[in-house]
């Protein structure tokens, strides 16, 4: 019987069926659900690592020992894991080893649009690209066979539309291969120059064998229909192209994209009148095909930026523009993502926003990145995971040389608990050791929230549900060199306490850390605990000054009929931030309202 699965669920299932015993990941959209699902299977070891480099290396160690293993991450996660990824290509594998990269054309929840197929070429490893959920399962199993046969890393590259679309999947049985023998072999496993110089030619030779395999494998399949138009495509583009062209074109669907099947491409090109290469983002296939002297149309017609759609293919290929049925004079209101009602970050930003003219806010990646938006506008820079503390340090050191109106800006670094574990710690060590007087605020909501509540070393539970010793952020901060008197822990639901801490942080002349601690309001247990805690507006006292509205809480609404503020009791969890900012004491704690 077939079941509906997302690409991510099917990748996890494929890994399970392939007999994977060890897997590690760091959450990141759109890859998160791969490990969430894999960790649910019996008879596997699964974990959330503090970052992608750690995840990749754990999986590599397992593969060296002789079991099948994988690490999964979002596209930018591979940047973090790039060091082991590039090196381990020289080691080869022992048990099968797979890296899953989930790329984000159109950046639904990402900072850039990098096409990680280029990484497979750079590292000289195999790249596979499934185009629906069934292929996610099948390719995952094929990946381990290829990895073991050719002693290589296999990268599976998926995109948001593959990860988060559901389609029918036929499941199979799990078969766990015997754990392979591990033999000590320094020439293969220790990459000192003398060994690396011997390994590099082996990798080059291996690539030739893989190119020949790429020509033979069904993962690269030709479908001949009308041969006036021939289309080489990959991943989700294949689905869009089939949707639009049906049997009015012939297809070479590339599922094994590094190394490309040169012979198969030459054969296909010779049989069609006009050859198109349709791939999202970079002209990865097109550039190689053109380098072989084959004429094809690719990025002249199809954009590098953003994601494709059937409409886009129809418009570019058939010159049929898309039409709207209804011309809208009215517009839906802007509905950007927003800090949730009861979000602990709101109280902090409410006070921090008051310093926006006097401070430089170096931010990081998480729900709290939304603090850059009105009404707070308390974030001025966000580069990548962990950059808040390091970039704030650089800003301060440069500001010491500046002599303009900005030269008094006090740098604050804003970083979440999970991001601090990911790559904030080294920055804090550097900042403290080099005595840079910036103030770091660790926004500890005790979970990896933005990706949907994954465990991290601060939560006290492992990915497999085991109880673990919580890592103490206080101890970690002190160990990084922050003095005891320069560390304060606050509850951001308490605005007075928060205000005091920020003032102390602003005035500090030494490295200073504020831990702003309150659990994410959406954690199930917290929701149950606070289910009946609500605030309500006393309309006799409300003067409609909108001070509460300026906290940006989505539970606060304007009642147009009476020109007063009302609180949506479904969303409110009684955090009392609005109550504390109301100058007329018009907001009351409803207590335990049903």
């Amino acid at each position: 019987m077939k079941v509906l699965m997302t690409g991510n669920e099917a990748l996890a299932r494929g890994a399970y069926e392939a007999g994977v015993l060890v897997a590690s990941a760091y959450p990141g959209t759109p890859s998160t659900e791969i490990m969430e699902n894999f960790s649910q299977y019996e008879g596997v070891y699964a974990e959330w690592a503090p970052n992608e480099k750690v995840a990749a290396e754990v999986a590599m160690g397992a593969a060296v020992r002789g079991v099948r293993s994988f690490a999964s991450m979002k596209h930018v996660g591979l940047n973090v894991a790039a060091d082991p990824f590039m090196s381990f290509a020289y080691h080869g594998s022992n048990g099968g080893f797979v890296i899953i990269t989930a790329d984000e054309p159109n950046m639904h929840s990402s900072q850039n649009e990098q096409d990680n197929r280029l990484f497979s070429k750079l590292a000289k490893v195999v790249c596979l690209e499934p185009s629906d959920s069934q292929e996610c399962l099948d390719y995952m199993k094929a990946a381990f066979e290829i990895s073991e046969t050719f002693d290589t890393t296999v990268m599976i590259r998926v995109t948001t539309r593959i990860c988060h679309s559901k389609s029918p999947v036929m499941m199979g049985e799990r078969k766990v291969p015997e754990v392979k023998v591990f033999s000590k072999n320094p020439e293969k496993y220790i990459m000192v120059p003398a060994h690396s110089r011997k390994r590099h030619p082996v990798i080059e030779e291996n690539l030739l064998k893989l190119a020949s395999f790429s020509d033979k494998t069904d993962l690269n399949g030709i479908e001949y229909f009308d041969t006036k138009v021939g289309i080489i495509c990959n991943g989700i583009s294949y689905q869009y192209v089939k949707e639009v062209m049906g049997d009015q074109a012939s297809y070479l669907k590339i599922g094994f994209s590094n190394p490309l099947p040169e012979m198969k491409i030459r054969e296909f090109a010779s049989k069609v009148d006009t050859l198109y290469v349709i791939e999202e983002n970079e002209p990865f296939m097109e550039m190689q095909i053109k380098s072989w002297g084959i004429h094809c149309i690719g990025k002249d017609l199809f954009p590098i930026c953003g994601e494709f759609s059937p409409e886009l293919i129809r418009e570019k290929l058939l010159k049929i523009p898309s039409t709207s049925t209804y011309e809208n004079e009215l517009q839906a209101p802007l509905r950007p993502p927003v800090l949730c009602a009861g979000c602990p970050h709101r109280g902090l930003y409410q006070e921090l926003g008051k310093y926006k003219k006097k401070a430089f806010f170096s931010g990081d990646i998480g729900c709290y990145t939304l603090g850059y938006l009105p009404p707070f506008e308390a974030m001025d820079l966000s580069i990548d995971m962990g950059a808040s503390i390091t970039a704030a340090q650089g800003f301060q050191r440069a500001n010491e040389w500046a002599t303009d109106s900005q030269d008094t800006l006090k740098p604050f670094a804003l970083i979440g608990d999970s991001t601090f574990f990911h790559s904030g710690i080294t920055g804090l060590i550097n900042m403290t050791y080099n005595q840079t007087p910036i103030t770091t605020i660790i926004l500890d909501n005790s979970i990896t929230a933005m990706t949907g509540h994954q465990e991290n070393p601060g939560t006290g539970i492992s990915a497999m549900g085991n109880i673990a010793d919580k890592l103490s952020i206080e101890n970690l901060v002190l160990a990084c060199g922050i003095k005891k008197e320069n560390l304060v822990v606050i509850d951001p639901y308490n605005l007075e306490e928060t205000k005091k801490a920020i003032k102390a942080g602003f005035d500090a002349v030494e490295p200073y850390v504020i831990i702003s601690r309150r659990e994410c309001a959406l954690i199930k247990e917290i929701q149950i605990q606070r289910a009946h805690q609500k605030c309500q507006v006393n309309w006799d006292k409300c003067r409609f000054c909108k001070a509460c509205i300026r906290t940006g809480c989505p539970a606060l609404q304007i009642n147009q009929e009476v020109n007063k503020v009302q609180i949506d009791s479904v969303q409110c969890n009684g955090c009392t931030v609005c109550l504390q900012v109301c100058p007329f004491k018009a907001i009351e704690k409803g207590g335990d309202l049903a």
């Binding site: 679309s165 559901k166 709207s324 049925t325 209101p333 933005m450």
Partner: protein
């Protein structure tokens, strides 16, 4: 059922559009159809605009619906209908939950809420059905079952009675939620 059908659900993060589409697409699968369903998880957990799209038929390639190609659009929040209206087929069905979640951009005066748009569109859209599924669910005792009230309405207006929906609901939901959602489904169907 028609040969190929496109269903677009639009709402606000936290309203349960994903569960509704999960029940729908599993119903279609059990009936032997090819199904694809696309969803987009944006940043942050709540309050943003969300959409799930279901395509069903004998053989489906693209998981996403093109402009002007939705057989039905279901707006879980009133103004979300407007955001997706140009995806509706000329003779398509529009179900609007007469329930507003005003984004903070409205309260802050950045973006106006189109309070009256339904009056203006009621002439243009042939198959428009408006009701308050939130109130229906609340009256039944659990406001959160609003999404399954809307499911009932979808089944009714698309005439999907050939599928045994109560058994699909039973399969897809934890046991303790089945009873209330059965009631919600029937209430939606009777709208």
């Amino acid at each position: 059922m028609k040969k190929n059908m496109n269903i677009l659900l639009a709402g606000v993060g936290g309203q349960g559009t994903i569960l509704t589409s999960k029940i729908l697409s599993n119903g279609f699968l059990q009936q032997g159809y090819d199904v694809k369903m696309a969803e987009i998880h944006g940043m942050a957990q709540r309050g943003g605009s969300v959409t799930t799209q279901i395509r069903v038929g004998d053989q489906i390639f693209s998981p996403v619906i093109e402009k002007g190609q939705a057989d039905i659009i279901v707006a879980f929040e009133k103004s979300e209908a407007l955001r997706w209206l140009d995806y509706l087929k000329p003779d398509g069905i529009l179900i609007v939950n007469d329930y507003m979640i005003e984004p903070f951009t409205v309260s802050l005066g950045i973006s106006p809420y189109p309070y009256t748009f339904l009056n203006e569109y009621s002439q243009k859209i042939k198959h428009l059905h408006v009701f308050n599924a939130f109130k229906t669910a609340q009256d039944l005792g659990n406001a959160k079952s609003m999404n399954v009230v809307l499911l009932g309405a979808i089944v009714k207006y698309l005439q999907l009675d050939m599928i045994d929906w109560p058994s699909v609901i039973q399969d897809q939901l934890p046991e303790k939620h089945v009873a209330i959602n059965m009631k919600a489904f029937h209430a939606g169907y009777q709208q």
